[in-house]
Amino acid sequence: MKRAGFTTVWLPIALLLPQLMIIAIFFYWPAAWAVQSSFYLQDPFGFGSTFVGVENYTDLMTNTEYGKVARFTLIYTALVTFFSLSIALLLAVKADKVIKGAKSYRTLLMWVYAIAPPVAGFLGLMFFDQRNGPMTEMFQTLGWDFRLGADYNSTATAMVIVAVWKQIPVNFIFFLSGLQSIPKSVREAALIDNRSASGRFWDVTFPLLAPTAFFLLIINITYALFDTFGIIDTLVRSEPGNNPVTLVYKVFVDGFRGNDLGGSSAQSVILMVLVLLLTVFQFRLIERRIHYT
């Protein structure tokens, strides 16, 4: 709050009201509803529900299917985060270095940001098509019997590649702006002290980029967990079957197709706790980040 703020009482309340109302109806109420119904077992035909305590949670913990989905989500998130971060970092370092065409490279490398995940997934469907997709043909010449939608590992690979492709631009933009905010004097000092370019990168540039990288790590984990829903839904053609899916996708499938409200809500609550932890972690980092800049 500003020290010299206005003292009117009714106006700020009126200004806050729309936001608070929307949040109450579409955020707090649904979140509370999810927590509450995670302790109940709903009748599939909508005739009431019975309190079952933590049974929905213990069911999930012992469910092998859920364990499998959780394991896939973990691996998927790790792969997407690792590849999209490292490729974007390489490109950003190079784009920061070149003098000619720097602007064109920036445009060419960032525009994919604007493509919607399901649209990217649809392109993936064409590229990994079982009969005549160019990527499928490439994998087959390499000796891998690639079958999207039929083989677990094939589908998982396609998901990772499309998700990485879609995420590189965001990471690239952040890394590049992080690199460009490194003061010229620091670079020049580093140039005098350290002759080798790679030594300079790891000793000077990378530590200065670390806050950006940590921040991006959280952003990428959140992306892989939630925002890739559209990619996954398109690549499995909305029919998960035996295909790999992520935890968020399972919330959706169990809640809307399986009509398992209690189980789906319990899964939602688990994800909420996960996001909560990630966010707390993220804000600790942002506090640190302010000290750097």
Partner: protein, 302 residues
């Protein structure tokens, strides 16, 4: 040993070093070009494929080259009625997408600017409390609370309406948080001067604060427009009426139709053209307003 050679061979040294620099530059450009190629090529190949006939695409998949079908395919994508009810055209979906993009971006900016203004500029006892209530929403993406949000919209009778499509997406604090940060960075003297000159809170907001936030508003607008345009899960749940489909929501329909094995040749050309139409507006906005967009993205997440 090396020292001696270096001091002795003084004249050829510059040429050697310039040559080395050139090679490293070639290497840098190669990496950047490869990156740009992998970003661009998939979309370019899809664009080329839209110039082929459906039968060709069904037989051979994505095509490299140009044929004469592009106009027909885009024409069909935009104006030919499709869907189970034959009620939806590309133009209609484009309009729905624009309504969602603009409605979401404008709604979000207006509501979050108002809330941020109230939190930063007023001596309000519960300002901090209100901030935390709003702020907590950053913690939960819509995907996590999707089922109860759906129930809420259903019980309010807002399914298949634009309000039902837009308002729940606004229920997160990203905008408020961003404008709060920005308002706090504005010097305190400004509001003091305004008060001495007799400007009331509403006048100060409209005549001083809003014009001052112009570039910030533009940056946030671009990000929010793209975010709204690209929504998938929420529109998929909330719009069952084909007349309400957005382009991105339409992708699900396209995939389902193409996956059916029927007697007719699947309309791949039209489907690919539609997927391109779904990406053109947000891509153009991001490219043309690049500097605002980058500023908004990197500043807002700080």
């Amino acid at each position: 040993m090396t020292d001696i050679t270096e001091t002795h061979v003084t004249s050829p040294a510059p040429s050697r070093s310039t040559k080395r620099i050139r090679w490293s530059q070639v290497f840098d450009h190669t990496i950047l070009c490869t990156g740009a190629f992998f970003m661009l090529f998939p979309v370019l190949l899809v664009l080329m494929t839209t110039s082929f006939e459906d039968a060709d695409i069904v037989r051979n998949g994505l095509q490299f080259g140009f044929e004469g079908q592009m106009l027909e395919n885009f024409d069909a994508a935009m104006f030919e009625a499709a869907g189970f009810s034959k009620a939806i055209t590309g133009t209609r979906m484009l309009m729905n997408s624009l309504i969602l993009g603009f409605g979401f971006a404008i709604g979000k900016i207006v509501i979050s600017m108002m809330a941020a203004y109230a939190i930063v500029y007023f001596r309000l006892r519960f300002a901090t409390f209100a901030f935390w209530i709003i702020f907590t929403t950053l913690l939960l993406p819509l995907e996590v609370r999707i089922l109860p949000s759906y129930e809420a919209i259903q019980s309010l009778g807002l399914a298949n309406t634009y309000s039902g499509l837009i308002i729940p997406l606004i229920a997160s604090a990203t905008g408020t948080f961003f404008f709060r940060q920005f308002f706090r960075s504005i010097p305190e003297e400004l509001v003091e001067a305004a008060r001495i000159d007799g400007a009331g809170p509403i006048k100060f907001f409209i005549d001083i604060l809003v014009p001052l936030s112009r570039t910030m508003i533009a940056a946030i607008f671009i990000i929010m427009f793209v975010y709204g345009w690209n929504q998938y899960l929420w529109p998929t749940l909330i719009t069952t009426d084909e007349g309400m489909f957005t382009l991105v929501r339409g992708i699900k329909q396209i995939v389902q139709v193409l996956s059916q094995t029927g007697a007719m040749i699947p309309e791949y050309g039209k489907a690919l053209a539609l997927s391109l139409i779904a990406m053109i507006p947000p891509v153009l906005i991001v490219i043309f307003f690049q500097s605002w967009f980058v500023k908004g993205l990197t500043e807002s997440d700080k």
